[in-house]
């Protein structure tokens, strides 16, 4: 592991616990090798019900727990429901919690485990992938590992992504998406069997990265890492999500789109997704406790939407989406841009049509496969 990563992790973690059943696993051995001074005797901490306090949540980002996962690794993305259009996505959770610290992160209302958990029995996840691929769903399945943990945030330690790439390389009906806000890609650039892997970045204007996405790589670093991945043969993706309203949003999002369009060719980027700031109402308290109450996210004008989440006014969302899409299309009509977790009404007011009928997006929104 390179020195830059090591220093980053040494600053980020306070303690590392290894569950007795994970002793001897490859990932536990790597944690022990790189951070011997952080290893603490395993303690089975009683878990309280309900949301964590802000202090507990802060601590959970610094305390690593390596343990086996007892449940199912492979799941359907919760994004598709009666209120939002689904893009046929599946998730493979190889851990939970993230050591980055975004003010809007939904994990604040989702997790109640006081650790950043890394699963040690990754071979079980590979078995599940084999089973799903062999059973098939009649179409291509996009599998992402970045739902409850940053796909690459700890990857230089765990090396999970390379294992999964090597595995899905054997199956034509599986595609992998690694989603990150880091620039930790050096260890992936020389992987031989990449399979159909897309490495994607959640991006935002630098101003938003600085004010709301604490501890993450700068936008310039993310784009630099993305460029390195394109050069080494990966497909890449961008998620401009969450789009956050702020006084200079037009200038800042224009600059972001222009940067992307100048560096990358649409053929290297199968898709760009857009999503506006949204979160469960109960999450707002911990956000206000943990971050500046006057920040863009905490002072945002959000209202309860049909699916229960707090969102910007529907017209403002459409206005922001249209603006960003138009900016991309000014550079090239070939950019494929879709809306993430948005209602059919927003699709209509943004694109004038439903996702399955938008040029270039038909295949993403074909009838949902199920496992």
């Amino acid at each position: 592991m390179n020195k830059r990563y090591l220093e980053h992790y040494r600053e980020s973690f306070s303690e590392i616990y290894i569950h007795p059943e994970s002793e001897g696993s490859a990932v536990a051995l790597r944690f022990k090798k790189f951070f011997p001074e952080k290893i603490k005797p395993f303690e089975d901490v009683a878990r309280a019900k309900g949301l964590m306090t802000s202090d507990e949540f802060d601590q959970s980002k610094k305390r690593i727990l390596v343990q086996p996962h007892k449940g199912q690794f492979f799941k359907q993305c919760p994004g598709g429901n009666q209120n939002s259009a689904c893009c046929n996505y599946f998730v493979l959770n190889l851990g939970s919690q993230c050591h980055f610290n975004c003010s809007y992160c939904y994990l604040q209302s989702f997790l109640n485990t006081p650790y950043l958990v890394v699963y040690s029995n990754v071979e079980k996840a590979l078995d599940e992938l084999t089973e799903i691929a062999e059973r098939g769903t009649g179409g291509k399945m996009r599998v992402g590992t970045g739902e409850v943990i940053d796909s690459l945030g700890l990857d230089p330690i765990t090396l999970f992504s390379e294992l999964i790439m090597e595995h899905i390389h054997k199956f034509e009906n599986l595609g992998l998406e690694l989603k990150t806000k880091s620039d930790f890609v050096d260890h992936l650039l020389d992987v031989k069997n990449k399979g159909e892997t897309t490495i994607s970045w959640s991006i935002n204007p630098e101003h938003i990265v600085k004010t709301e996405e604490h501890g993450t790589a700068s936008n310039a670093k993310r784009l630099e890492a993305a460029y390195a991945c394109v050069t080494s043969g990966y497909k890449i993706g961008f998620h401009i999500d969450p789009v956050i309203w702020h006084p200079d949003w037009k200038e800042n999002y224009s600059e972001l789109v222009d940067q992307i369009a100048e560096i990358f060719d649409p053929k290297d980027v199968p898709y760009v997704s857009l999503g506006a700031l949204r979160f469960q109402p109960e999450q707002r308290h911990i956000m206000k406790e943990r971050f500046d109450r006057a920040s863009y996210v905490n002072s945002g004008e959000l209202f309860k939407s049909k699916d229960g989440k707090l969102r910007y006014d529907a017209d403002l969302r459409s206005e922001m989406f249209k603006f960003i899409i138009d900016r991309f299309k000014k550079h090239s009509r070939a950019w494929r841009i879709f809306l993430c977790m948005e209602s059919p009404e927003t699709w209509l007011s943004t694109y004038g049509d439903f996702p399955k009928k938008v040029d270039g997006l038909e295949d993403l929104f074909s009838p949902r496969a199920s496992v």
Binding site: D55, P247, R293, E301, L302, S305, A314
Partner: protein, 271 residues
């Protein structure tokens, strides 16, 4: 002699009669003439508190637990080695986040008593305090909380006022003195929301005004209504007969372009 509870004095839970545990007052009553019942003959302190706490709100439980805990800290009292474990008590009451309870306990010692009474009366629970737990500043905000208690809002309105008020304080858009003239909680909430959601609501108001100007026909009124994250045009139409209804619907349809124009009017609010 009965033990006085510092900070939460006067806020002991109200029951039909006064209950004590030896010299310690555990609950209060509205009836001065009511007799006190000493539970110590039949119940341990822990058991007495557990029995009394059934059906109490979070704030009342907090006062009761503080009262019971004071027995062991009061050096003038012969405690006979009695202890009361607050952590265990709250855990058994299904409040597992004791760190949060500790923070609320500390906060409650600084909050005005009239506001604490309101909290107890409206049965606020643990999570309701999270709206302002980290933002309370004694010198300024006690004025706000006293004002809020005076207005005696419903629980829902009161919690909304608290949250919006602290949001606006962080944005430096309000001070406690701004609130003193309000005589009604609903009006106060509407005024605070107007500031908190100023960009969206001012745009709504512009569209509302434009829609109100559209002359359709007598007895037809168009306005704007907010439904969560969406705006809706509300068309009110009165007709004395099916013929009149047809005519008014027809005229409304002819104004469809005007409605659309009003809806899309640029306010410049979103820059």
């Amino acid at each position: 002699m009965s033990i006085q509870i510092s900070g939460l004095n006067g806020l002991l839970p109200k029951t039909n009669c006064r209950f004590t545990w030896r010299e310690l007052t555990l609950t209060d009553t509205n009836w001065a003439s009511q007799k006190s019942y000493d539970l110590s003959a039949d119940l341990s302190l822990e058991r007495a508190v557990a029995v009394l706490s059934e059906g109490l709100s979070f704030c009342e439980k907090l006062s009761l637990a503080e009262a019971a805990a004071s027995l062991t800290t009061n050096t003038n009292t012969n405690t006979n080695s009695h202890t009361f474990d607050q952590r265990l008590f709250f855990k058994e009451s299904n409040y597992t986040r004791f760190d949060l309870i500790e923070q609320i306990k500390n906060l409650s010692k600084e909050l005005p008593e009239d506001f604490l009474r309101w909290c107890a009366l409206k049965k606020l629970n643990l999570k309701d305090f999270r709206a302002f737990l980290n933002d309370y500043k004694k010198n300024n905000d006690s004025v706000f909380f006293s004002k809020l208690s005076d207005l005696d809002p419903t629980k829902n309105t009161g919690l909304q006022i608290i949250e919006v008020y602290f949001d606006l304080c962080a944005q430096k858009k309000v001070s406690p003195e701004d609130l003193l003239s309000f005589k009604n909680a609903e009006t106060l909430l509407a005024s605070l929301k107007k500031k908190r959601f100023s960009m969206t609501l001012s745009k709504d108001q512009i569209i509302f005004d434009e829609l109100s100007k559209i002359k359709v026909a007598a007895g037809v009124k168009a306005s704007l209504k907010r439904n969560g994250d969406k705006k809706q045009i509300k068309l009110e139409l009165e007709a004395d007969s099916p013929e009149q209804l047809k005519e008014k619907l027809q005229k409304s349809l002819e104004r469809a372009d005007s409605f659309e124009k009003a809806w899309n009017i640029k306010s410049g609010a979103s820059k």
